[in-house]
């Protein structure tokens, strides 16, 4: 009896310690980011840092405007989600509503594999395959246009395409499980009322799986916003307005590419960039929380 109680107690403590580690990590990262990121915000000035587009950290009279970098992150994420989510959702519909067991298994495990591919591989393929293709496209579109700066194919479009593929697995797997969780009687009722299968899917099944799908979308946004490696390899890395054929730099790649040799205020500003990214991620997570709560309330 006593022995059992001891075991129970020890197990409890172990679980608690594990749980506390996660909380501790999140709290200390948050505190650290604010401590490290805030000073530069004060030194450079909020508007000069966040709303200026001039990034010249090593100039004699340095300017640290990250507006273009923020915009690039937002545009790349938004457009890749716009492309990735419809494809992902329809794949999920196919997996849960239409595919037979055999085909479903093949597609399902392919998606899982897609999720397991490391981002550096996406970057590598983007660099070797996508960039040369984009360069050809760029050359044919801007032929004879002397005002366009040729980027060799490393541009916003490449980044968006890579990101759209990278968020697919997240969107697909979460949407599939929430579609599968929709009660079968709803489908039967809809079909019994004379609705076709497609009507049932779009009018009944998807709306009832809404909160789960939304979760997938928000997680996809988080993934796209936070990706650094693949983007660093395909996006070019010059600070520019996010136009399709411009070489761009996002919040993540900004930190990755300049942390190495930066010093002084330049380095502090990179921490501020990290802070901005962190705040973006917090907003995304807040939306996720809200989407889930709303889902609960609907049910």
């Amino acid at each position: 009896m006593k022995k059992k109680a001891i075991i129970e107690k020890t197990a409890r403590i172990i679980f608690l310690v594990c749980a506390v580690i996660a909380i501790f990590a999140v709290c200390s990262i948050t505190v650290y980011m604010f401590i490290k990121g805030a000073p530069a915000l004060k030194k450079v000035g909020v508007s000069d840092l966040l709303f200026s587009n001039k990034w010249q950290p090593t100039a004699k009279d340095p300017s640290y405007g990250i507006l273009y970098i923020i915009l690039s992150s937002i545009v790349a994420t938004a457009v890749s989600v716009l492309i990735g989510v419809p494809i992902g959702l329809l794949t999920a519909v196919f997996l849960s509503e239409m595919a037979g067991k055999k085909v479903g298994n093949i597609v399902g495990s392919t998606v899982e594999l897609l999720a397991a591919i490391p981002s550096v591989i996406y970057g590598l393929i983007g660099m070797m395959v996508l960039n040369p293709f984009m360069y050809k496209l760029e050359k044919s579109i801007f032929a004879g246009d002397s005002s366009h700066q040729f980027t060799g194919g490393s541009n916003l479009m490449s980044a968006i395409i890579v990101l759209a593929i990278m968020i697919l697995p997240t969107v697909i797997s979460i949407s599939t499980s929430s579609l599968k969780a929709v009660n079968g009687s709803l489908r039967s009722a809809s079909l019994a009322l004379g609705a076709t299968k497609i009507q049932t899917i779009f009018k009944v099944v998807i709306p009832s799986a809404k909160s789960g799908i939304l979760t997938g979308v928000v997680l996809g946004i988080g993934r796209a916003l936070g990706e650094a490696m693949a983007i660093n390899m395909v996006a070019g890395g010059a600070v520019n307005l996010p136009l399709p054929f411009n070489s761009v730099r996002t919040l993540t790649t900004q930190i990755v590419s300049e942390m190495g040799y930066s010093s002084g205020l330049h380095r502090q500003v990179l921490f501020t960039v990290g802070l901005v990214l962190y705040i973006f991620i917090m907003i995304v997570n807040y939306l996720l929380l809200k989407a889930r709560r709303k889902g609960c309330m609907d049910e």
């Binding site: 059992k4 075991i7 020890t10 197990a11 172990i14 990034w55 010249q56 950290p57 090593t58 100039a59 004699k60 070797m128 960039n131 040369p132 360069y135 050359k139 002397s146 700066q149 040729f150 980027t151 060799g152 194919g153 490393s154 660093n232 070019g236 890395g237 010059a238 600070v239 070489s247 730099r249 990755v256 590419s257 300049e258 190495g260 040799y261 930066s262 010093s263 330049h266």
Partner: protein
């Protein structure tokens, strides 16, 4: 069952401890190995009257020389454990000013001294030469660029190779990220600091080499020592980018790394003398080569 669980947990814990223990032990072993090695080399290479040397050497100056100074002071301090080397990266001009004011022992400058600086008693000691090669992709037919044209390419005034006698191919201007020493040197030597419009900013020498090699019409710059046969190295103002030309002072995209002293080295204290002896020793030369620089004659 539960007993099994508990033992498993304990075993896991012990294993973790054991693993971390192993890990740290291994690294210290490695550390010992390397320092032991270099110390051994040191005694064979040069003066033995080293162990009793102690004090502080202070350097200030060029930010471009950070890599060299860090590597040099690290290995110097490994050999002379009693000596502390402090380096501040304030910029070439500021470093020489501190030297003239007597607040540091050595002023770092990534350029030759100006007349008014030598007039104040500072003596130029070139410790290394920095060379930058301009590279293009293999299919490019342009083999020589004037430094004016190169500057125009990087500021975006010339955008097609046909304007330079090459193929009708857009120029893809590649460079390094802000903060890179190579970028700093390149822009400074061409006098295009902060007016460059890059199509891509890459964060390593290897990335520049790879991208230039794989992109038609690309141009980039890298340290001279990494150029290989996947790219063409362009001559600048008719001078080929070779070590010989740099040593002869003919190649435009090179600069001296100067560690200036107030008065000749022979007039300095023992610490500073030991520092310069070390730089000129085989070990010092190894350090200079390791950071991609050329040893002056």
């Amino acid at each position: 069952m539960k007993k099994g669980f508990l033992t498993a947990v304990i075993a896991a814990g012990m294993m973790a401890v054991a693993l971390t223990g192993c890990g740290s032990k291994k690294t210290t072993n490695n550390d010992n190995g390397t320092t032991g090695d270099s110390a051994a080399k040191g005694t064979t290479a040069s003066s033995q009257a080293s162990a009793d040397l102690s004090g502080t050497i202070s350097l200030a100056g060029s930010t471009s020389m950070e890599k060299l100074c860090e590597a040099m002071s690290e290995s110097f301090m490994a050999k002379y454990p009693g000596v502390t080397v402090t380096v501040e990266y304030t910029g070439s001009g500021a470093g020489l000013e501190s030297l003239a004011a007597g607040s540091v022992d050595i002023g770092d400058a990534s350029r030759h001294l100006k007349d008014d600086e030598t007039a104040s008693g500072s003596v130029e000691n070139v410790v290394a030469l920095d060379g930058i090669a301009v590279i293009t992709d293999k299919s490019n037919t342009v083999a020589d660029l004037s430094s004016e044209d190169l500057a125009k390419i990087y500021t975006g005034e010339i955008t097609n190779w046909k304007d330079l006698g090459g193929n009708d191919e857009a120029i893809v201007v590649l460079g390094r990220e802000a903060g890179s020493g190579t970028r700093d040197a390149f822009e400074e030597l061409l006098d295009v600091k902060d007016s460059c419009t890059y199509a891509q900013e890459l964060d390593s020498t290897g990335a520049v080499l790879a991208k230039v090699g794989s992109t038609t019409g690309a141009i980039g710059y890298v340290s001279l020592d990494v150029v290989d046969d996947t790219v063409n190295a362009v001559s600048v103002d008719g001078v080929e980018p070779t070590e010989e030309q740099i040593l002869a002072g003919k190649y435009k995209l090179s600069r001296p790394f100067v560690m200036a002293t107030k008065g000749e080295i022979s007039e300095q204290n023992d610490l500073v003398k030991a520092w310069f002896d070390y730089i000129k020793s085989d070990e010092g030369k190894e350090v200079i080569k390791a950071v991609g620089l050329i040893i002056p004659e």
